[in-house]
Amino acid sequence: MSENTPSAMEHGLQSCHGCGLLSRPAPGAHEGRCPRCDEKLEFRKAASLERTMAYLIAAAVCYVPANLLPVMTTNTAGGSESDTIMQGVVLLWSPTGWPLSLIVLFASIMIPSAKIVALLYLVFTVKRGSIQNNAQRVRLYRMVEIVGRWSMVDVFVDTFTVSLIQLQPLMSVEPGPGLLFFAAVVVLTMLAVESFDPRLIWDAAAAKETKHEVQHA
């Protein structure tokens, strides 16, 4: 895909993140701004890999308490009960409720972890300068970007439940500390996706190509 197509950077041009306008970089050591939409202009996202890595590590750290701590405490007349996400999945699992259980399992446990793993893979391959499966890696990045926000569903459901179910003497629901960490995981992975610059994927390929050409020449 990118092997034979020139990139803007190769031609000393910057493309705007916001409106896609191509522009020449600002003269001198100044930071460039898009003349059309005033978006910050860079050849590549600054310190993309480093930021992504930082966010990923933070997300991975938060992922542990998010799954170990209870996300929701249900107080009923029969006593209170704290459930972690996994306990919720187990609780929902029944002959009729299994689709719901699966949704929670996917949205809350598999997607965040998959996101972290996928992004780690992308960061490592880019860092190594891999040129294989470029197209797949870009597709993977898109998927991660699209699917990532759905993890927030769990947080929304939780906050809704907490605010709606307040039948004080009979039943009340309180958020657990796990919820905070879970939200942090979702936000941090979204930030990681945001800070990762997919153009780096084919930059490496282009670099290798030029190297190859140079060697050939």
């Binding site: 031609h11 000393g12 041009l13 910057q14 191509l22 522009s23 020449r24 970089p25 600002a26 003269p27 001198g28 050591a29 100044h30 930071e31 460039g32 701004r33 898009c34 003349p35 202009l41 600054a46 310190a47 480093e50 930021r51 930082a54 966010y55 590590i57 933070a58 997300a59 750290v61 938060c62 542990v64 308490p65 701590l69 007349a77 029969g78 006593g79 009960e81 500390p177 960490f181 942090a184 941090l188 800070s195």
Partner: protein, 524 residues
């Protein structure tokens, strides 16, 4: 940059002074996350309380991760796992205690399952119907730490309430049960904790708890009795109803009282055993002092004599009947009824004066007294105590005219001579009754003859009365002179009344007639 000229029409970016980029700043985020994570982990580990195991006889109502251990309304732990013991006879529950409960966990800490319990008097743990069972805790006094406990079957009684435990011995449980109230002067002073059959299976040991300050009223002399239900007594003075409280009528109870003595006794030590009497009367029946058993052989019917019937001398009870058997002597072909009595005058408050001392062996003096009494004609007999029920009692009386008897002290129990006095007396009475009857009959004859004279007189009286009546009849007859005269008189009376009415009428219309007299034109 080779293509700058080519894209010269491309607008140039605005120049903004470059800020110093501190990319490393982004690493603060994972550091913060890690610190938060570590902090949570550390607090979790620090918060992790001790883990204990509790042995239950049944896992009924217990739920892992749900059943709480609650002390004074606060959760101090939660059951984390429940499994069957290796012997399959009971259930071992693992409980995670809250942090800082380490000093709770001592050797005599008590656990029990709080569930709805409905006894006759108490309904407890109703809340658990909704909330599910929980585990109650009673703190221990011990200093020794412990991690494995055995749960009690029922909530402990007493606990933090000051008081003491005592034992009651009884042959029948009656309506007693755990939690049965114990009354002292109609105040609830304690309750039954538990009961168990003794090893021989003959008696029941009832463990009771008397709370302070009532426990100090229990001396070794205190009497306990079953206060279950109502005690009805019908005496010459009327009907007596005795009960402790409405509650005890419904659910049973125990009452205790300490007899008032001249020298107050110190409170009984804890776990003292007492006898539980059937009723108050039995409880306050004087205890045996110096009982002696005797055998009375009656040849007459003992119908109406019961075990427990009193033995009286001069109307004062000195003992009671303890046994009634029957025996048949094949040799003499005689049927007799041996009755054993227990005589204990001291028990019933008979005072002894100048009692001879035992010379050689104990009971010697008593024997001598008895010998003297029998020589003076002491005999036992049966007497009717109650005419309606026909109940008999043993009456000991003196019959100096009776043939002399000596007591055979080698027998056990000693046979006392009997006197079938009652029957002889009856015969005598019947004979005198018959004699009297004879007299009465002859008297009656006399009366009858005089009555005959009276009757002739009465006859005469009747004839004259008859005549009188005839005269009276003549007077009232319709055709008699008197009648006609009377009719006439009435007629004239009526006429007079008519004339008077006319006069009054006239006067009403012409009142002046009173002065002027009747005028001609005023004539109606």
């Amino acid at each position: 940059m080779p293509d700058t000229e080519k894209f010269s029409n491309v607008p140039e970016a605005k120049a903004v002074p470059k800020k110093r980029t501190r990319l490393s700043l982004v690493w603060v985020i994972p550091i913060v996350a890690a610190v938060a994570g570590v902090w949570i982990a550390v607090t979790k580990i620090l918060e992790k309380g001790p883990e204990i195991t509790i042995n239950f006889s049944t896992g009924d109502g217990l739920d892992a991760n749900k059943t709480k251990i609650i002390y004074d309304g606060l959760t101090i732990g939660t059951l984390s796992a429940i499994r069957l013991a290796p012997d399959h006879q009971h259930v071992i529950a693992t409980a995670k205690m809250m942090p800082k409960t380490k000093d709770f966990l001592v050797k005599d800490l008590k656990f029990w399952v709080v569930k709805p319990r409905i006894t006759g008097l108490n309904i407890t743990g109703l809340g658990t119907l909704i909330s599910g069972y929980y585990i109650g805790v009673q703190l221990g006094q011990s200093k020794e730490g412990e991690r494995s406990f055995t749960a009690l079957e029922s909530p402990p009684v007493g606990g933090d309430v000051p008081g003491r435990f005592f034992q009651l011995r009884t042959t029948e449980l009656g309506s007693l049960g755990e939690g049965t109230p114990i009354f002292f002067r109609q105040i609830q002073a304690g309750q039954v904790v538990s009961y168990e059959l003794d090893k021989a299976g003959k008696n029941l040991n009832v463990k009771i708890f008397i709370q302070s300050p009532y426990d100090q009223f229990i001396t070794p002399d205190t009497r306990f009795w079953q206060a279950s239900g109502v005690d009805l007594t019908l005496t010459a003075a009327g009907l007596h109803v005795q009960t402790e409280s409405v509650m005890s009528i419904l659910a049973g109870g125990i009452a205790f009282e300490t007899p008032v003595t001249d020298s107050p006794q110190p409170p009984a030590p804890a776990d003292t055993a007492f006898t539980l009497f059937d009723d108050r009367t039995a409880a306050f029946r004087p205890p045996p002092r110096d009982p002696h058993d005797y055998l009375l052989v009656f040849k007459q019917s003992v119908r109406g004599l019961n075990v427990g019937a009193p033995v009286e001398i001069g109307g004062i009870q000195i003992g009671e009947v303890t046994g009634i058997q029957a025996q048949f002597d094949a040799k003499t072909a005689e049927f007799s009824v041996p009755v054993t009595i227990s005589v204990d005058p001291a028990r019933y408050g008979v005072k002894f004066l100048n009692l001879p001392k035992d010379d050689e062996q104990p009971g010697d003096g008593h024997k001598r007294v008895m010998d003297i009494l029998v020589a003076r004609g002491l005999r036992a007999g049966l007497k009717t105590g109650n005419l309606i029920s026909g109940s008999l009692f043993v009456a000991v009386s003196f019959h100096p005219e009776a043939p002399p008897v000596t007591l055979d002290w080698s027998q056990e129990p000693v046979q006392l001579p009997t006197q079938s006095g009652q029957l002889e007396g009856v015969e005598e009475s019947v004979a005198s009754l018959l004699k009297n009857l004879d007299q009465t009959v002859s008297n009656l004859n006399l009366t009858v003859s005089s009555a005959r004279g009276t009757l002739t007189n009465a006859d005469r009286l009747m004839t004259s009365t008859d005549k009188l009546m005839g005269n009276a009849n003549n007077l009232i007859a319709p055709d008699s002179v008197l009648n006609a005269e009377l009719n006439n008189m009435l007629q004239q009376g009526g006429d007079a009344a008519q004339a008077l009415r006319v006069l009054l009428d006239y006067l009403e219309r012409h009142p002046e007639a009173l002065i002027r007299g009747k005028t001609g034109e005023a004539k109606p």
